[in-house]
């Protein structure tokens, strides 16, 4: 019978919310968050070059992947640490004007992974990763439309091709990358009872 893996992967006897709240959960989530900040340097440059950061695509793929990984490993609180450190650091270094908004968008990805994990009940599975990326994509569109309407006063109905492009790139890429990283982390021995 196939083994099933639940959130948090680093201690599956603990519930997914709040997940791991001990020192290792805190520092581990922090390390995943810092790795995300490092990797985002590659993605954000491209996003700024293409659309001035208004429609992040590659940054979103990296964020989906790392926040999904962090939540799967450490549960809800760990996931929120992974998701919220990046906007704070980005604001503290002045790297993006819309960084404070990421507090909400990144947080929604934690909820997406928790939802996907509860529905599929097996985190390291294609089904879970595809569902996670699908929920993330829906959350992102739902959250970006108010941002574009209230903050940027954009005619959102004319931006549907942009949202479609973002979804078309982020959905498959994030599914594959999250699945690959979860498999790597499992093989490296970080998944424990």
């Amino acid at each position: 019978m196939k083994e099933k893996y639940t959130i948090p992967l680093t201690k599956m006897s603990v519930k997914d919310w709040p997940g791991r709240t001990d020192s290792q959960g805190l520092v581990g989530a922090l390390m995943v968050s810092l790795a995300m900040i490092g990797l985002l340097q590659f993605g954000e440059r491209l996003d700024t070059l293409l659309f001035g950061g208004l429609f992040p695509v590659s940054g979103r793929v990296i964020a989906h992947t790392m926040i999904g990984l962090g939540t799967a490993l450490y549960g809800g609180v760990g996931g929120f640490i992974v998701s919220e450190i990046n906007p704070l650091i980005a604001t503290a270094t002045g790297t993006s004007p819309i960084a404070p908004f990421w507090l909400i968008t990144n947080g929604s990805q934690v909820i997406a992974m928790l939802l996907a994990g509860r529905i599929t009940k097996d985190v390291i599975s294609w089904k879970n990763c595809i569902l996670y990326a699908a929920i993330c994509t829906v959350f992102m569109i739902v959250l970006y439309i108010p941002l574009h309407i209230f903050y940027f006063h954009m005619p959102w109905s004319k931006l549907i091709p942009m949202y479609s492009f973002q979804a078309a790139v982020a959905f498959p890429s994030a599914s594959v990358l999250v699945r690959a990283l979860l498999q790597v982390v499992k093989n490296a021995g970080f998944v424990r009872e």
């Binding site: 709240t21 590659f42 208004l54 793929v61 640490i81 503290a92 006063h153």
Partner: protein
């Protein structure tokens, strides 16, 4: 990665760097409320001068503040461009390309500038906040406000370890280059999707390091006792409650005026 802004400001003590962090947070919230409740350029101009004045008299590095504003330029350009092309009111010019009309709207241009100003003001506000408030003082203030120390401390810990992780990333990048995998030479469109050879070692080394750090923290009694002691003391002055409630009241009054008066 830009230098952390607070490091530039801490050398000079001023009323801004000495302000209670919670008061600074309330002031930021009040400014954000005002900025979001209007698109009036006069109000934005006044706020811009107010923020510049606060930075100057608060002995913050104004040059660094304006450099941060430069980061907004690409975003501002795209916002204005999309508004000019997408808005249908007050068309000043129509250009036909392959039988398709591309319109340029004056209303869109002005709206783009207003939104751009809004983005600049918010960027300046957040930047001043992070220039003026030291993370250690912030941790203490959040702890005093009832936030669990573990989570209040997370941001300080992140600032401490970020240079280490970024240095790891450089080392891993160089190691992969020496093996013939040069991410900088990848097609820039697909570069993001080829990050796995960097991401895997970075994440795994980070997780291993986390185990060691957590063990060291536990051995030193991290959060072992309910009552913590701090080497930094952050106490609100008698003016802090007045400033907090005053700022919030002013922001709410402004929102009410903006709702009732279309001119604002």
């Amino acid at each position: 990665m830009a230098r952390f802004l607070y490091l530039q400001a801490q050398e000079k003590k001023s009323f801004l760097t000495q302000m209670h962090p919670i008061t600074a947070m309330v002031l930021v919230a009040a400014i954000v409320i005002v900025v979001f409740s209007t698109l009036n350029l006069y109000v934005y101009g006044a706020l811009f001068l107010l923020l510049l004045g606060a930075a100057y008299f608060g002995k913050l590095p104004v040059k660094s503040l304006l450099t941060v504003v430069l980061v907004v330029v690409p975003l501002v350009f795209f916002i204005t461009l999309i508004q000019v092309l997408a808005q249908t009111e007050d068309i000043v010019f129509t250009w036909y390309v392959l039988g398709r009309a591309i319109t340029f709207s004056r209303y869109g241009f002005i709206l783009g500038l207003q939104v751009a100003f809004r983005v600049i003001l918010l960027a300046m506000t957040m930047t001043i906040f992070f220039m003026a408030v030291h993370p250690v003082r912030m941790t203490k203030a959040l702890y005093d406000a009832g936030v669990n120390f573990k989570y209040a401390y997370a941001f300080s810990l992140a600032l401490r370890f970020l240079p280490l992780v970024l240095s790891d990333l450089v080392t891993i990048n160089n190691a992969q280059k020496s093996r013939g995998y040069d991410i900088d030479r990848q097609n820039f469109i697909i570069r993001t999707f080829r990050l796995m050879p960097l991401a895997v070692p970075l994440i795994l080394s980070g997780l291993r390091r986390a185990e060691i750090i957590a063990l060291a923290m536990d051995l030193r009694g991290f959060c072992a006792y309910d009552k913590r002691t701090f080497y930094v003391d952050v106490q609100p002055s008698r003016w802090d409650p007045i400033i907090r409630w005053g700022a919030l009241a002013l922001a709410l009054i402004f929102v009410a005026v903006a709702i009732w008066s279309p001119a604002i």
